[in-house]
């Protein structure tokens, strides 16, 4: 194994609000190798999107990275100037956002937007960029690329726009694709189509994917590794196979149990009690403690650190062994 493609180490992110501060990311570390797909799973407010977006310099104005590093190809992204980051984003790292309508330019033809990605990064000449745009549209399953090149975003359906976003993100053949809920808004058949396409690009080009999602079905079927986040911390980290076999964090299990799946009709589903709170102070215990059925005194007094729990499997829970016994 060589150097990982991207490695995030001890990342901390804070947001300041008018009256207080929100501790959004509290010491997150992970890495991703070439040709690997990583799924970051959690609910809103878990810090999953902030972790990813802040590491590539896309943090809201009131946010601040207080410590940590994000090494990509030997460079710490957190120390780069905005111009240098812009160079990397879109060329070496493709980014797909959840809502394609807010990230596409409404008054620019979609073909030009895909070409622009290649031209600004001097990835291709005008002629090459034009040909490649047609090819990308074709690959994305958009029929009649030549005439669609001239269409504007509003002339496409949500699923098509999302595919155009993905075409832009993939235009310069990035080594890493970062995608925030790329298929959440899409119908299942379109989701399947896009995932099949990304899978193929991984096989063909060895591209890596980091995907933020709240959908366990998506993460467990598409990704090689899974990270579960809560309260700005990693709660559980494992290869997908290990995760499927022996997930043991009470939060992961609660989240898995609370999904309504096909065949659940007539079954009582147990949602996780209470709701997640915004963290406005430094953690002094487990962020999940007040919603957890295994909680003891220790959980309130000591922040659980991520520790090795088995082969390719780490957990941040004081009671993981007990939970694991209980589940098996």
């Amino acid at each position: 194994m060589g150097e990982p493609l991207l490695s995030i180490d001890d990342l901390h992110v804070k947001f300041s609000r008018s009256e207080d501060e929100v501790f959004a990311v509290n010491g997150v570390s992970f890495s991703i190798e070439a040709n690997e797909a990583l799924g970051i799973v959690g609910e809103s407010g878990s810090g999953k999107s902030v972790t990813l977006m802040s590491s590539i310099g896309l943090l809201r104005e009131n946010g601040k990275i207080t410590s940590g590093t994000a090494n990509f190809q030997g460079r710490n992204l957190l120390k780069l100037r905005p111009k240098q980051l812009e160079d990397i984003r879109g060329r070496d790292i493709g980014v797909v956002f959840q809502d394609p309508m807010t990230s596409l330019n409404p008054i620019m033809r979609i073909g030009d937007q895909i070409m622009e990605a290649m031209l600004t990064h001097q990835y291709a000449s005008r002629k090459e960029a034009f040909d490649r745009t047609l090819q990308l549209l074709q690959e994305m399953g958009i029929p009649d690329p030549k005439s669609r090149f001239k269409s504007y975003p509003h002339e496409f359906s949500g699923g098509m726009r999302q595919r155009i976003m993905i075409a832009i993100a993939l235009a310069c053949e990035p080594q890493l694709l970062i995608a925030d809920e790329p298929t959440t808004a899409l119908d299942v058949t379109v989701q399947m189509q896009i995932l099949a396409l990304l899978q193929e690009l991984r096989r063909k080009r060895g591209m890596s994917v980091v995907m933020v999602t709240h959908d366990f079905g998506l993460a467990t079927n598409f990704c090689d590794k899974i990270i579960v986040m809560y309260g700005g911390q990693i709660m559980e980290k494992a290869t997908t196979d290990q995760f499927i076999r022996e997930a043991a964090h009470p939060y992961s299990l609660g989240l898995k149990r609370s999904i309504i799946e096909v065949g659940h009709k007539g079954k009582e589903i147990l949602p996780i009690p209470k709701t997640a709170k915004t963290l406005t102070a430094v953690l002094t215990g487990c962020p999940f403690a007040e919603r957890c059925s295994y909680t003891t005194e220790r959980c309130h007094q000591e922040v659980p650190r991520l520790r090795v729990f088995g082969t390719d499997h780490e957990i941040a829970c004081h009671h993981a062994e007990e939970v694991a016994c209980h589940v098996r």
Binding site: D187, T189, F216, F222, I259
Partner: protein, 329 residues
């Protein structure tokens, strides 16, 4: 036969004019729905599921066909009568915030719904509002809060409380949990289910989340480009999906595997969702269908009964069902 249905929809159609072209949003749709039951509507965006929901409420007028609610022909009702009947039919939206005034406390918003329909006195409305908040699992203090102070899940509960305030018989739930976090979705779904039992509510449940639709529905209608391509009791539809489109739809659901061996392959689905402005000839699904033959390209398939209460509009029903049996063996 069982009791008289609460809702009977007969051959309704709706056409919009878009860019000078005709868009058949809903074509020849029929179904019946008994009181206390749930009909799930599934289909891709653009399949017409929300349009159909709005037609039932007569928020959109049908071009053709009839809708009977509680025995009354909706199209024949006068404005006054329709207004009275609307109390019996409520809708819950995907984004409850958009349907609540930002300058009104949620308590006032719930009371307002009753006041518009001149229900009760101010005092009795207030009492009912606090009762309803409790019913939907919200603390009483929340009545003084404004929509922006609430979470998505809480807002959806307010939306439900407001719909309930008029004692409706039918509630159209249009993607009510799609914008919520997974663990909150379950809470709202189970709340809807419990309320249905308690008040004998009838639901039309619209969602692109098939597992959720299965969970709540007694019957499911699958829409494709404005037409019902298959309709069956929920369990039956998931066990023996007969229309090729339903099969594709169910195969596209990503389930959490119970063992690594069960992980699903990402399968590329051929073809595009066609433009409703320019629908394909014959069976509108034929360009994406693995079973398509000449007849599928030229003639529109009629609905055929494949089992009791189970219809599918497909020329090649026998083949798709055989294949299903082969796969199962």
């Amino acid at each position: 036969m069982s009791a008289k249905p609460l809702l009977r929809v007969e051959n309704v159609s709706k056409t919009f004019r878009v860019q000078g072209k005709k868009l058949h949003a809903i074509e020849n749709v029929s179904f019946t729905l008994e009181a206390g039951k749930t009909l799930g509507l599934v289909g891709e965006s653009g399949s017409g599921k929300s349009t159909l929901g709005r037609m039932v409420l007569r928020l959109l007028e049908s071009d053709k066909g009839k809708i009977y609610f509680d025995g009354a022909d909706l199209s024949k009702l006068s404005k006054v009568k329709l207004r009275a009947l609307r109390r019996d039919m409520q809708i819950i939206f995907q984004d409850p915030k958009a349907s609540l005034s930002p300058r009104m406390t949620v308590g006032d918003a719930i009371e307002d719904a009753m006041a518009i329909h001149k229900l009760g006195t101010k005092a009795s409305r207030r009492e009912r509002m606090t009762e309803l908040l409790e019913k939907v699992g919200l603390p009483a203090e929340i009545q003084y809060a404004y929509p922006h102070e609430l979470s998505g899940g809480q807002l959806q509960r307010v939306g439900i409380a407001r719909a309930l305030s008029l004692n409706p018989k039918l509630i159209i739930c249009d993607e009510p949990v799609s914008a919520l976090d997974v663990s909150i979705q379950v809470q709202v779904i189970q709340l809807l289910r419990d309320l249905q039992k308690e008040f004998n509510l009838t639901y039309i449940f619209i969602s692109h989340n098939l597992a959720v639709v299965e969970y709540l529905s007694d019957d499911i209608a699958v829409l494709y480009l404005g037409e019902v391509v298959e309709q069956a009791p929920a369990e039956e539809l998931f066990k023996t999906p007969t229309h090729p489109y339903t099969q594709v739809l169910l195969d596209s659901i990503l389930r959490v595997p119970e063992s690594p061996e069960q992980k699903q392959e990402m399968v590329y689905i051929q073809g595009e969702v066609p433009s409703p402005l320019n629908p394909p000839s014959g069976c509108t699904f034929h360009p994406r269908c693995p079973y398509a033959t000449d007849i599928c390209r030229s003639a529109k398939p009629l609905q055929r009964t494949v089992a009791e209460c189970h219809v599918a509009a497909c020329h090649r029903v026998e083949e798709t069902q055989n294949l299903l049996m082969v796969n199962a063996n």
